[in-house]
């Protein structure tokens, strides 16, 4: 109790006056010091460990490569980007602590690279309050509501866009009837609704829609039901455990149809486990833009398997922030926020690196950045308006790319 009392005693009127005086004097000094420092601190908040540990380290590698390129080209406003890396552990609580440190201690003007939707939603209030830009690779539709409050962007297609992609794939293949097996959680409800809308616009019809519970383990009856009335294909909107169960049940019941599933629901382990039951399954993954000049950097970083959507996005985030700083002639979060939409989308000269873009901007022009992950044009809510998707099929136990869906829009 005594310590607490003395702490209160310290806050006397005189102390407050002293404090105010100090602030008045030191404030401008501190700001001048910040101006004087020639580098720009940028926060990197990625899942280096935890469930996102499969994505984070690769994303970091790509972000660092982008920063090196930007700095080699002289940097925005002739200053160097300095990346400050924190691990969000794929855990909202750890992420909020790390974001606070980036914002309060390191005084970053942007926090880039949150991956899990839960993490992005948890971190957003911290960055929004400090007027710091936040960019994520999270897909959940409800993030749009968070983004409407400003300063938060994502390079990942919204789950709704995934739904549209499934529909366009089906229409492209000439399929007119679909069955949908959907996990009973909010993410699938919105994706399936988006799928249905686009599919029906194109003349298709969802003839069976079956939902199942997250804790369910046996899928035989549901799978049989999905095959009723002979749909031309079956779309599963779920995660790995249930997708596995359904594919197995279909195989064990001798039921054969094309299955369209999100690529994130099937790891190579699952494919190996399922063996013949996984053959021919069609996987839809969020895109990269393999034809874009910016993609060369990703190819160089990951020569073995260069289809790396999230690292490509991390690479683009750093370039976009650098371009926004150059365009705004200011490195504050507010300045970046004011220019991100204009440097990401039309109108303007199409550019695919900071070096190219900075040249145009310094001559007074406008730029439209085309990234390694796609065209990346942000809409008023901070979502990308169109996205590429990759279609792959499981053949002999391997994921074989068979095509692309380009510029899928809302």
């Amino acid at each position: 109790m005594t310590t607490r009392k003395s702490a209160y005693a310290l806050t006397s009127r005189r102390t407050i006056l002293w404090g105010m005086g100090l602030t008045v004097m030191v404030g401008p000094m501190a700001r001048n010091m910040a101006w004087a420092a020639d580098d720009i601190p940028i926060g990197i908040l990625m899942p280096l460990t935890g469930a996102g540990g499969i994505a984070g380290p690769h994303m970091l590698k790509a972000a660092q490569a982008a920063a090196e390129e930007v700095n080699a080209a002289g940097g925005p406003l002739g200053r160097q980007l300095r990346l400050i890396v924190e691990d969000d552990q794929t855990d909202p609580e750890a992420a909020v602590k790390a974001a606070r440190k980036l914002v309060d201690v390191d005084k970053v003007s942007a926090v880039l690279g949150t991956w899990a939707s839960g993490v992005t939603i948890a971190v957003a209030p911290v960055t929004q309050a400090a007027k710091v830009v936040e960019m994520s690779t999270s897909g959940a539709s409800r993030i749009t509501e968070v983004q409407k409050k400003g300063y938060v962007y994502r390079t990942e297609p919204d789950d709704l866009l995934f739904g549209k992609a499934y529909a366009e794939l089906a229409l492209k293949r000439g399929w007119k009837t679909a069955a949908v097996l959907g996990l009973n959680v909010p993410f699938t409800a919105s994706t399936v609704e988006a799928f249905r809308q686009r599919f029906e616009q194109g003349g298709g019809k969802v003839i069976n829609y079956i939902t199942y519970n997250p804790d369910q383990t046996a899928f035989k009856a549901e799978t049989i039901q999905a095959f009723q009335n002979d749909p031309e294909f079956i779309h599963i909107s779920g995660y790995e455990p249930d997708v596995t169960g359904i594919l197995r049940a279909a195989y064990e019941s001798n039921l054969k149809k094309p299955f369209v599933v999100p690529a994130f629901a099937m790891s190579s382990d699952t494919i190996a486990n399922l063996g013949p039951a996984a053959e021919g399954v069609i996987l839809v993954a969020e895109g990269v833009d393999e034809k874009a000049p910016a993609f060369a950097a990703i190819k160089k970083l990951f020569p073995g398997d260069s289809y790396q959507p999230h690292p490509a996005m991390a690479y683009d985030m750093v370039n976009l922030v650098a371009l926004a700083i150059e365009a705004a002639k200011d490195s504050s979060g507010e300045a970046i926020n004011s220019k991100l939409k204009s440097v990401s989308g039309p109108p303007g000269t199409e550019v695919s690196s900071f070096a190219e873009g900075a040249k145009v901007l310094r001559e007074g022009g406008e730029v439209d950045y085309r990234g390694a992950s796609g065209p990346i044009d942000f809409d008023e809510n901070g979502n990308i308006v169109k996205s590429n998707f990759r279609i792959a099929e499981v053949k002999d136990g391997k994921i074989v790319p068979v095509g692309m869906l380009e510029d899928v829009v809302f």
């Binding site: 009973n184 079956i210 939902t211 199942y212 519970n213 804790d215 369910q216 383990t217 046996a218 899928f219 035989k220 009856a221 549901e222 049989i224 039901q225 009723q228 790995e240 455990p241 596995t244 169960g245 197995r248 195989y251 064990e252 019941s253 001798n254 486990n273 399922l274 063996g275 013949p276 039951a277």
Partner: protein, 284 residues
């Protein structure tokens, strides 16, 4: 037509799997008078022990399943002696709470050693056989046959052996049984072993049918208790019948309602039938 036939197969299959642990729970309740939640988790333990034994020994799968089931029986006996024997005279509540605790501990032991991920036994996937127009894979057929054989053996054990008579006597009237020379602790010991074996075997079957997750037992908890109640506590035949009724009802319900309501079906059936037959399906 195809789905009507197939639901019969999947309903019997899930019923055959549920009936084993449900009979264990039912017998334990009849004799020890506690709703013993931990037996649902012996399913999980059995399933994962089989995974471990398969990796360690390379024995054929039926032997591995047997080994896992017997280990669960042993574990159930040890748990009963260590945890439940000291509270035998303290009424229902302490034992029930302990069984809840034991359930959580068992589940988390599995999580600790095998992680939270989804696993599969290394059994090759099978195409179905055509049995009188019904599609069923050889493994699923084996599950139904084994389960039927076990239930029959159990019925014989309880009806015609000395142990069986002692179990029934203790269930009817523990005081009277003691007076006539039945040693209750011996009955408890044997019964825990039997219930552990049943749960472990059921767990292995469930994992063969679906996959291994630490929630194998937890997800079965509600249907198991519904079956035990519906069958009439302590009745082997009743529980077996109830398992089939609930299995078939929940599979056929898909023709009328969404699959996400499937879990509730067990309780609708339970409530409905208990109104009609308050003492269970096969009460005298």
């Amino acid at each position: 037509m195809f789905e009507i036939k197939q639901y019969l197969v999947s309903g019997i299959l899930i019923g055959a799997i549920w009936m084993l642990p449900a009979i264990g729970i039912s017998l334990i309740y009849a004799v020890l008078r506690i709703p013993h939640f931990a037996f649902a988790e012996f399913m999980t333990l059995g399933a994962y022990l089989a995974l471990g034994f398969a990796a360690a020994t390379g024995l054929p799968f039926p032997a591995i399943a047997l080994l896992a089931a017997v280990s669960c029986g042993l574990a159930a006996v040890i748990m009963d002696q260590a945890v439940f024997r000291p509270v035998r005279q303290s009424g229902v509540l302490p034992a029930m709470l302990l069984s809840l605790g034991a359930m959580l501990i068992l589940q988390n032991i599995v999580r600790f050693f095998w992680g939270n991920g989804v696993r599969q036994y290394r059994l090759p996937l099978q195409r179905p056989l055509d049995v009188f127009g019904f599609n069923i894979t050889p493994n699923h057929l084996a599950i139904i046959l084994v389960s039927g054989a076990v239930v029959f053996a159990l019925y014989v054990l309880l009806k015609w052996t000395r142990f069986g008579r002692e179990v029934r006597a203790t269930a009817n009237n523990p005081e009277l049984a003691r007076v006539t020379g039945v040693e209750p602790e011996r009955v408890y010991l044997g019964l825990n072993g039997v219930a552990g074996i049943l749960a472990g075997l059921g767990g292995v079957m469930m994992a063969v049918y679906t996959s291994l997750t630490p929630l194998v037992g937890w997800n079965s908890l509600l249907p198991l208790f519904a079956i035990a109640l519906l069958g009439g506590l302590g009745r082997v035949g009743g529980a077996a019948l109830a398992a089939l009724v609930i299995g078939l009802t929940s599979e056929y319900s898909l023709m009328f309602i969404q699959s996400s309501y499937k879990n509730a079906i067990a309780f609708v059936v339970l409530a409905g039938l208990l109104i009609l037959r308050p003492r269970g399906l096969v009460a005298e």
